[in-house]
C-alpha cells in the first residue's frame, strides 16, 4: 500500500481539484477545509515517504503496473521526496494564509476555481519531481504552466492579464523547446524513460552528436525560461508582482525552483557525463547564474513596488540554485539544493508579509512604508527576519545555504564565486535593510484611516514561516542529511 502513496497523492490532488468547481453554493463553505485537508494529507504523505526512502532507499513505481519503457514510471528517491516535502509544506502554509487574503484580492465566484488551479499546480509540480520519463515530465510541465498562468490572471485586472499573457507566451515557448528536445531524444534512442535513455545515449553520442547537443540546449533553454534564469527572466517581475499575494508566494517560492530540480535530474541522470567535457554546459549555467545573482540584485535595488522588488530578488536567488548546479561539486550542489527549501521559506514569507501590508494598509510603494513597523510590529518583524536571512546573517537559514555554496566553491578552488556570493549578500543588505529601518525608525506618519486589522489566520502562517527561517538556521541537520543522500545521484 505504502508504495502506492506517491501516485495516490498526485491523484488525490487532481481529483480534489476537479471536485472544487462542482461545489455549489451550499457546499462552497466546505471548499476551504477540503482543500486544506487534502494539502495536509499530501504533506503527511511526503513526510512518510521521506521516512520510507530513508529506511529502504529509493524505489520505482510503475503506474498501472505497466513496466517501463512503455509504462509511466515514478522514481521516488531522496531528491524527489525532498522536493515533494518542500512543495507540499509551503503550499499548505500559503493556503492557510490565502484563505482570508484571497477574498479581498479576487471575486468570490472564482474562489473555487482558485482552489482548482492551486491544487492542479501542486499536483503537477509533485509530478515533475517524481516522474522518471520525459513524456510525463512534459505533460506535467504543461499543466503547471497553465495553472500557474491561471493563478496570476484570476485577479482579472489589466496588469494581471498582461503579465500572465507575457508569462504564457514565454512559458509556452519554453515548453515548445522542451517538447522538441523530448522528440529529439526519442528519435535518437527510441525511449522516453530516463533510465533507458541514459543507457542508450553514450552509444548514440558518436552517431548523433549534434542532435544530442541540440536536445540538451533545448532542454536548458526551455527550463531556463521557466525558472527565470537570467537573461530569460523578463516575464517574472510582472507575473510575480501583479499576482495575488498567495500566488506570488507559491510562484516565487516554489514554481521556479521545480524546473531547476527537473533540469538537475536531466543533466545528471539522463545526459552522459562525457557530453559535459565536450560542451561546457555547466560553466555556461554557472556564468548565467553569476549574472542572475548580480543583475537580480541590482534591478531589485531600483524598484519602488515592494512586490516587484521581491520578484527581482527571486531572480537573484534562483541564480544561487543554478550556481550550486553549475559548480557541480558535492558541497556546492548541497548548497544549491538546500537553498531551494531555504529560499522557498523566506521568499514565500516575504511575499505573504508584503501581502499583509497591502491588505492592512493598502501600501505597495516602498517609500510609503515608513513607520509601518510601529503599526504592524509582528509582520515587519517577520519581514526583518526574512531580510536578515536574505543577507545571510548566521542563525537564519540563508546562512546555511550560503555557507555550503561558498564552501563548495572553495572546495573546487574557485574563490571567485565566494566573492560573488558575498557581493550579492551585500547588495541584498542594501535594498532589504532600508525597508526594515524605515519601517521601524525615522519619521512617524499619522495612522491612515483605512488601516485594517490583521486577521490572525493571515498572520499565523507568516509567523510560522519566520519561525522556520530561524529554526532551520540553527537546526539544518535533518534537511542536510536527506540532501546528502540526494546528491549521490
Amino acid at each position: 500500500m505504502s508504495l502506492h502513496l506517491p501516485v495516490i497523492s498526485i491523484a488525490l490532488l487532481l481529483l480534489a481539484s476537479f471536485v472544487m468547481p462542482l461545489l455549489r453554493r451550499g457546499a462552497r463553505a466546505a471548499a476551504l477545509p477540503f482543500t486544506l485537508s487534502v494539502l495536509g494529507a499530501v504533506f503527511t504523505v511526503s513526510l512518510y515517504l521521506i521516512y520510507l526512502v530513508e529506511s529502504r532507499g529509493a524505489f520505482s513505481y510503475h503506474v498501472g503496473g505497466w513496466p517501463p519503457p512503455w509504462g509511466v514510471e515514478l522514481y521516488i528517491d531522496h531528491l524527489a521526496v525532498y522536493m515533494m516535502m518542500v512543495l507540499s509544506s509551503i503550499c499548505l502554509v500559503v493556503m492557510v494564509y490565502g484563505a482570508r487574503d484571497l477574498y479581498h484580492e479576487i471575486r468570490a465566484e472564482v474562489m473555487s476555481w482558485y482552489y482548482t488551479l492551486y491544487l492542479l499546480l501542486l499536483a503537477s509540480m509533485i509530478g515533475i519531481a517524481l516522474t522518471n520519463d520525459l513524456f510525463t515530465l512534459f505533460v506535467f510541465l504543461e499543466i503547471s504552466t497553465i495553472s500557474a498562468c491561471g493563478i496570476i490572471s484570476i485577479k482579472k485586472d489589466r496588469e494581471c492579464i498582461e503579465a500572465s499573457f507575457k508569462y504564457l507566451i514565454l512559458s509556452v515557448l519554453g515548453s515548445g523547446c522542451v517538447l522538441l528536445g523530448v522528440a529529439m531524444i526519442y528519435m535518437i534512442t527510441g525511449y522516453l524513460n530516463y533510465d533507458f535513455v541514459a543507457q542508450e545515449l553514450p552509444q548514440a553520442i558518436a552517431e548523433y552528436p549534434y542532435n544530442i547537443l541540440m536536445a540538451l540546449s533545448l532542454f536548458i533553454v526551455g527550463f531556463s525560461v521557466k525558472s527565470a534564469l537570467f537573461p530569460l527572466h523578463i516575464w517574472l517581475p510582472d507575473a510575480h508582482s501583479s499576482a495575488p499575494s498567495p500566488s506570488s508566494a507559491v510562484l516565487s517560492g516554489l514554481v521556479i525552483k521545480i524546473y531547476a530540480a527537473a533540469i538537475l535530474r536531466l543533466l545528471f541522470r539522463v545526459f552522459p557525463a562525457e557530453l559535459f567535457e565536450v560542451v561546457p554546459v555547466l560553466d555556461i549555467l554557472l556564468f548565467l547564474s553569476v549574472l542572475a545573482v548580480m543583475a537580480g540584485s541590482i534591478f531589485a535595488m531600483v524598484q519602488e513596488d515592494i512586490k516587484r522588488m521581491l520578484a527581482y530578488s527571486s531572480i537573484a536567488q534562483i541564480g544561487f540554485v543554478f550556481m550550486g548546479i553549475g559548480l557541480f561539486g558535492n558541497r556546492a550542489l548541497l548548497g544549491g539544493l538546500v537553498h531551494i527549501f531555504n529560499h522557498a521559506l523566506m521568499k514565500s514569507m516575504l511575499f505573504l508579509a508584503a501581502g499583509l501590508i497591502i491588505y492592512a494598509a493598502g501600501i505597495r510603494n516602498i517609500r510609503d512604508l515608513r513607520g509601518i513597523g510601529v503599526r504592524m510590529p509582528l509582520t515587519m518583524g517577520a519581514f526583518a527576519i526574512g531580510a536578515f536571512s536574505m543577507v545571510g546573517i548566521p542563525g537564519t537559514n540563508g546562512f546555511i545555504s550560503k555557507w555550503h555554496l561558498a564552501l563548495g566553491a572553495l572546495d573546487l578552488g574557485r574563490p571567485f564565486f565566494v566573492a560573488i556570493i558575498l557581493l550579492s549578500s551585500l547588495l541584498n543588505g542594501i535594498y532589504y535593510l532600508p525597508i526594515v529601518i524605515n519601517a521601524f525608525f525615522g519619521v512617524k506618519i499619522e495612522p491612515r484611516s483605512e488601516h485594517r486589522d490583521v486577521p490572525g489566520m493571515m498572520l499565523v502562517p507568516v509567523l510560522i514561516l519566520a519561525a522556520g527561517v530561524i529554526f532551520f538556521g540553527f537546526y539544518p541537520g535533518p534537511i542536510l542529511a536527506l540532501l546528502e543522500q540526494a546528491i549521490v545521484l
Partner: protein
Amino acid sequence: MEAVFYNFMPIWTVMFPIFMSMVIFIISRRSEKLRDGLSVATAVVTFFSVAAMYPYLAAGNIIDYTIFDILPGLGVSVRVDILSFSLAIISSFVWMLVAIYSIDYMSHEHGGDRYYPIFIFTLGSCLGIFMAGDFFTLFIFFELMSLISYVLVIHEETREALRAGYKYLIMTIIGGLALFFAIILTFELAGTVSLSQGTLITAAGTLPFLAFLSFLVGFGMKAGMFPLHVWLPDAHPVAPSPASALLSGIMLKTGAYGMLRVLFTVFNIPLVKETGWDMIMLVLAVITILLGSAVALTQEDLKRRLAYSSVGQMGYIILGMALLNETALVGDVFHIFSHALMKSTLFLAAGAIIWKTGLRNINDLQGIGKKMPVTMGAFTIAALAMIGIPPLNGFLSKWTLALGALEAGAPLYVVVLLISSLLNGLYYLPIIIAAFFGGEEEEEGGHHGEGIPFNIQEAAHRMVIPVAILGLACIVFGLMPNNFAFELSLRTASFLINAGMP
C-alpha cells in the same frame, strides 16, 4: 561537578541578559521604575556572574564546552580563557555603571522602552563574542551585537542619526561578510574554526593570506581601523551618551579581541612574522593613531572629538598586538582596560554636560568646570590619562607599549606614541583649561582677582557617581602598578604568546 558548574556559567552569563531583555521589554509597558531597576539589576548580576568565574580561571583552567553542532565541525560552543575573562569583566563592569547612569540620562529622552531591552541585549551578545568557543559562535554574536546596536546608534532618530546609522549598518554588513569569507576560508583550510584546537592555519599561501586580510577587514571595521573607520566618527557621537560610552569604550574592543584571536589562534607568531603580515597591521595602526589624533584636533563637537580620539586609541591597541612580543601584549591588553575606563568616563562626562546644559560645542564649555566640578574632574583625570601623564592608567599602558616597541627593536613606534600623546594633549588640554579657568570675562563683575566661586550645578547623583567611579578607577589602576587589571594583562599576554594554550 565543579567543571559542570563552570561549563554552565558562560551560557548563563550570556543568556541571562538576553532573556532579561525580553522581560524588560514586557515590563516596560507596566512600569518605568521597574524597567530601570531591572536593567540595573541585570547588569549587576551579569557582572558578578562574570566575576564568579575568576577563581576557576585563576587556577589555570579553561572553560570549554560545546553546546550543540549545527553542521559537522561547526557548532555553538563556549570557551572562557583568561583573555575572554579580561574583556568580559571590563565590559560587564562598565556596562553596570552605564546602566546606573542611564536611568537619569534616559528619563529626558524618548523611547526608553526600546532603549533598555536593546541595551541589555547588547550586553548579552557582547559577552557572547568574548565567551564564544569557536569563530562561528563568535560570528553569530558579533552580527547580533552589531545589528542590535544599530538601534542604539539611531536612538535619537534625527536625520543626522539615521544617516550615520545607515553608514554604520552598511559598513557592518561589509565587515560581517568579510568575516564570513574569512571564517569559511579558515574552515576550508583547517576543517574547524574552534578556538581550542591550537593554531588553525600553519602554512602561508594565497588562501591563508586572503583569510588574514578578510579577518582584518571584518574585525578592523569594528575596531575602527584606518581606512575602515569612516563610520565611527559619525555613529558614536549621534548615539545617546551612555550608548556612545559603550560603543566607544567596549564595543570597539570586540574588534580588537577578534584580531587578537586571529593573530594568536588562527595563525601563529612565526607565520605572521615570516610572511610579513604584521607589517600591514603596523602600518595601518600607525596611520590610524596619527589620523585619529590629528582629525580629533579639528573637531568642534565634544563627542565627535572623543570619537576621533577613539580611532587613535584603537590604533595603539592594533599596534600593540602587531608588535608580537610579550611586553607589547601586556601593554596592549592593559590599554584595552585603560581605554575602556577612560573613554567611558569621557563620554559619560560629556553626556552629563549635555544633559545638564545642552552644550555640545567645545567653545561653549568655558567655565563649565566650576558648575560641574566632579564631572569635569573625572573628565580631566581621564583626559590626562589619555595624554599619558603619570601616574594614571594611560601612562602605564603607553609605557608598557613603548617598552614593547623597543623590545621589538622599533623605536620608531615609540616616536609615534609620543607624537600622538602630544596631539592628545593638544586637543584635550584646551577643553580642561577652558572648563576650569575660562569664562572669567563674562562673570568678571564683582569677583575681580579672587577667582570665580564655585557655582555647583551638577547633574543627577546617579549620573555623577558612575562618572566619578570610572574616573577614580583611572587613577587607581595607574597608581598601583600591581593591580588586578595589570595582573590580568600579564597573564593574558603570556597565555597569548603560548599560542592560546595555557
